[in-house]
């Protein structure tokens, strides 16, 4: 009898121990199938290549390539140009967007502005617009024969700006800024709203102005949100794809190697070299992860994320 009880108890504890894994199982399954497996498969593929016999006739054979695909990518100046381009993009676009988003969030949080709800929505709404649609819209604003901006310049007999020329990178930066400023503003604003009011009272008693309170008290308190906002923007920038791809039809300056992701896409689907494309995807994934992890480590002490 006693023995039976023990066994039931053991069965019970075992069942209890399995409960959390039962809850986790669907997520772990999806994670394994659509995160882990694709990455591992791409990694394996990246060590192979397709070889054709001397004259290019007959079916191609798949042969071991070692690190050839990687060395090809790392020695390809066009790949590096793409990397440099997205880094330049990030160095300029992210700070501008963050400063605007931060200024907006501080204004939304300050006591002296009316119509906050309206302003908040107006700024946030572009986040609801898919990148494809946002780029199609801005494409009309950029193309000389349809643009209302060009029409205004022409009406005042001014030389219209060329949005799709060699500086098209900044036209793309404008689309990203338009899409994501509101998103970041809401992240910062939510963080500001979570700060207890009493902290500001002490600041006022110390004779700080509204601006002083914003810069000296509020800003340090929302550093974790700032870090997070910059981090997500960094990831997005390294992955830049949708906007330049859609804009490609309008600007001859957007090449098939314009950003690392466009490069990988063209290698894989236009040149149908999945092995080389897989290698580039792996490099890009590792670089993105390293950048974000490094950034988190770098800012960890200040942010506490």
């Amino acid at each position: 009898m006693r023995n039976l009880n023990m066994r039931r108890l053991n069965w019970h504890t075992l069942k209890r121990q399995l409960v959390p894994f039962a809850f986790l199982a669907p997520f772990l399954l999806i994670f394994a199938a659509f995160f882990f497996a694709p990455f591992v498969y791409a990694l394996i593929q990246s060590f192979y290549k397709e070889e054709r016999s001397g004259l290019g006739f007959g079916p191609p054979t798949i042969v071991w390539a070692g690190l050839q695909n990687y060395s090809a990518a790392l020695h390809d100046p066009q790949f590096w140009d793409g990397i440099k381009r997205v880094i330049l993009f990030g160095v300029v676009q992210i700070p501008i967007m963050m400063i605007v988003a931060l200024a907006l969030a501080l204004l939304m949080d300050s006591a002296v502005i009316r119509l906050k709800r309206f302003f908040r929505l107006a700024v946030f709404i572009p986040y609801a617009v898919p990148a494809v649609v946002a780029t199609i819209m801005w494409g009309f604003f950029y193309s000389p024969d349809a643009s209302p901006i060009v029409a205004v310049f022409t009406a005042f007999h001014l030389p219209p700006p060329n949005f799709l020329g060699k500086d098209v990178l900044w036209s793309i930066a404008n689309i990203s800024t338009w899409e994501f400023t509101g998103y970041n503003m809401i992240i910062f604003f939510s963080a500001l709203q979570a700060i207890p009011q009493e902290i500001y009272e002490s600041g006022r008693l110390d004779g700080l102005s509204e601006l002083g309170i914003a810069l000296r008290l509020k800003l340090p308190l929302i550093t974790p949100s700032l870090v997070l906002g910059v981090l997500f923007s960094l990831i997005g920038t390294l992955q830049l794809f949708n906007e330049p791809l859609i804009l490609q039809r309008l600007s001859s300056y957007i090449s098939s190697t314009y950003t690392p992701n466009i490069f990988a896409y063209n290698i894989a689907f236009v040149e149908t070299n999945y092995y080389y494309g897989g290698a580039i995807a792996v490099i890009l994934g590792v670089v993105t992860f390293a950048f974000s992890y490094g950034f988190l480590r770098l800012t960890r002490r200040q942010s506490g994320v």
Partner: protein, 303 residues
Amino acid sequence: MATTPLDLDQRSRREPENQRLVGARLLSTKNIAAYIFLLALTVYFLTPLYWLAISATKNNTDLFSSFGLWFAHFNLWQNLYETFTYGNGEYVRWIINTALYAVVGGFLSMLISVMAGYALAKYNFPGRSLVFTLVLGAVLVPPTTLALPTYLLMSKVHLTNTYWAVLLPALLSPVGVYLARVYATAAAPDDILDAARVDGAGEFRIFWQVALPLLRPGLITIFLFQFVAIWNNFFLPLVVLSDPTLFPINLGLATWNFDPASHELLFNLIVTGSLISVLPLIVMFLVLQRYWRAGLAFGSVTG
């Protein structure tokens, strides 16, 4: 755990009182500068959408020959008719597909995420911190990185060009798991769960009948985020689908836009189709604003 995203609104409710206190200083010079800044940005953020609404009423010629920010010949009904009937009504098909991907994918992904987040928040088990590290690591790897590898794997198992190719990867939402863990920690207190245990309820019944109702606002936020992420997804469908009858709206609009042979004719359809495709999202944003802020407050929370 200082504050939870869910109780944010309590503070905003105090705002009006605060505004009255400072009502006297509402129109100082500094404020005028602030309003000019806000107005300029409002114009910047809303003009493209205003343009889209105006342009959906124009025919192909007027799109290029009339001033973009004002009406020309009113052609909206004709545009709508052409958008919905062009190519055997492929646009209607894309709307149905998108709704299917976003609603089914968003709902299942929400369930999967909340179960995982609940387990991470409420149980102590070996490997817990490893799983949580995986989740955080996955947050840092955007879906775009995975699109190409996913395609390679799917073509190996012959899943490309099926609904599954878009739907299954959309079930993965590391951010959703992270948010669910934060919410479960905050909104489902251990004493309530323990009380249910004392009453003899099994672990799964506790989850369905006690924890899930407590987590409802968080669930809506998680659903919303994934719904929009799927609706906006472009890279993955672009690489895994080639059959237009499976396309989501984004991909459909992009192909209308790319097609060099016919793009001249399709501009009014692209513009009208774009307007129709953003309307549901904008309505969702306006109606469910509260949940957006709750989700985006995660920066202020240390889980």
